[in-house]
Assembly symmetry: C2
């Protein structure tokens, strides 16, 4: 590495003191316009580049936030992260990424490495099976602001940004009802999962509001993937009490559902209604195109980052919960 140009070099080059250079460089107070210009000019010609670690050390703040999330190969998280990065970088913050692969052990390891001496704040989406918030509580106690997004630990007192799963699910199911479907099943994830239970709740509410009967038979809990959707739909269609529509907890399961329907020569969007959740781009590539509840992924990202920065700047002292509404994107799969 070549010799490093520091503010000291600028100072001696200009025969002024380092403190003046320091002040001039971040265009701050108490420095005459002329000196400021001379300093900036010198910085340019000497090819000065600030050392962020030195700054972070002296200032005890690094202008860097950490993001903990399961993965980014699914559209939803990629969009959330995009929202975060965009907001953060627009406000002068950098973003370090920690991908847990949805593994609580990996998450824990990351968490143990972190501290306020490294990061100004943390945005986290916990692993699915993570139940204990100790590591987060420790970080908060050390003075590191934490904001949860999408998934939050109930045991940890921190701000959180979630989407309105209940309302979204109600929207979806009400739409199916209005389209003329009456026997609406719900395929969803594991029973103890928070997202599962919220979307189920919305499903049940919608049925109730419409005076439709609820049957346990029509609620199938399994995985969140395409194959589970395929299998769940198979089970429903094989049962004596066949539904004529399905509300799927997410798009991926809905894609599996489409496949199953296709194999049975059941036309989705006329004989059979289908609505998904997430509204990933592929929802409009499949056939028939999938009606889906759009999750406000980018907004979740940017709003959680906004809250985090407020915490960092000490604007907000206490935890806030923000719940963002979704929006129904109506396509062919829910026609009648």
């Amino acid at each position: 590495m070549n010799k490093i140009v520091t503010i000291r070099d600028i100072a001696s080059h200009l025969s002024i003191s380092v403190s003046t250079v320091s002040r001039a460089l971040r265009g701050s107070y108490d420095v005459s316009p002329e000196t400021r210009e001379r300093v900036k000019e010198a910085a340019r010609t000497l090819q000065y580049h600030p050392n962020y670690h030195a700054r972070a050390l002296a200032r005890r703040s690094s202008y860097t936030i950490g993001i903990i999330l399961p993965y980014i190969t699914n559209y939803y998280f990629a969009a959330v992260l995009t929202g975060i990065e965009e907001y953060a970088s627009r406000h002068g913050y950098h973003v370090t990424l920690f991908m847990t692969q949805d593994n609580p052990a990996t998450e824990k390891i990351f968490l143990q490495q972190l501290s306020p001496y490294r990061l100004d704040g943390l945005l986290a989406c916990t692993s699915l099976d993570n139940s204990e918030g100790m590591a987060y509580t420790r970080l908060l106690a050390m003075g590191l602001p934490v904001v949860f997004f999408d998934r939050a630990l109930g045991s940890v007192l921190a701000s959180r940004v979630l989407q309105d799963d209940v309302a979204g699910a109600r929207l979806a199911v009400t739409h199916l009802i209005e389209s003329g479907y009456r026997n609406i099943a719900h395929i969803t994830g594991a029973v103890n999962n928070l997202m599962t239970s919220r979307r189920l709740q919305g499903y049940l509410q919608a049925l109730e509001e419409a005076g439709l009967q609820q049957t346990n038979e029509w609620v199938i809990h399994s995985g969140f993937d395409v194959e589970s959707g395929y299998n769940d739909t198979g089970r429903l269609l094989d049962s004596a009490n066949q539904p004529d529509a399905i509300f799927s907890v997410n798009d991926r399961k809905a894609f599996g559902c489409l496949q199953q329907l296709r194999e049975r020569k059941i036309t989705a969007g006329s004989q059979f209604g289908l609505v998904g959740f997430t509204n990933e781009p592929s929802a409009s590539y499949v056939f028939p195109r999938l009606t889906s509840v759009e999750e406000p992924a980018m907004e979740i990202g940017s709003e959680s980052c906004e809250i985090l920065l407020k915490h960092i700047h000490n604007k907000w002292k206490h935890a806030e919960e923000r719940i963002l509404p979704g929006r129904l994107c109506i396509r062919e799969s829910s026609h009648r």
Copy 2:
């Protein structure tokens, strides 16, 4: 923020010197097992957390690498980034993310902020319209190792990891030919784009190898999105000289193609052959399921990170180019 526990505190608590503590803490040489244990014990009880910025300042190395890329909402880049993050964190490196939105101006701004005083290395995928590599050359000259992935600037002498687009395209087209299709068109991106020209080259090679005639009519340049695929396919099917198969430069265009075929009641996978490129997950959600050339996205990520770390550790002095092969995933859309 609470009072900070430093190695000095541990030292005085144990009545030993800070250097011993420092050495003991990163389990290094020249420290007796007993002291090491006592130090680690004290660190735990005193709730010591290392200050990475202080360390980075003293060591002139931050164990952090930067990633510049256009976006992550498409599957390919998300997978590459996953490969990078996984490799990096497994080797003790952290990853800071810079998303350019494929905008050269944004890219340039990021690049100007960066320096070896902040990062140990940089992994970059340049914006599509970026032609000038000055900023990268400057960084390299400052001693910051840079490795390009997926897209590289010809003008910059740095290592790069790319996929074998030519071979992949040849694979795709040869497969169509072997399936019995003879009139194979190619829908692709802008003429001056590097990916476009490489995949086109593979397409032409395959035709030539099979002794099939090449027609300019059957090569359509437009955008990379679904809609372009839809439109391009429309043009081809409206032309006097109709193809019976399409090799699409990517999956998204292929999805548009499927839509167009569907509207015209042309059955892909029997009347008409179709192969895409990328093999994103949705390739197997659509109907008929899309045959596609799988891009080794994760590997591109991990291998570029591997090369970068070698540069950082000064193992490799000069630039290396690595070209990874793809693999054809055969599904229904290319049957006959």
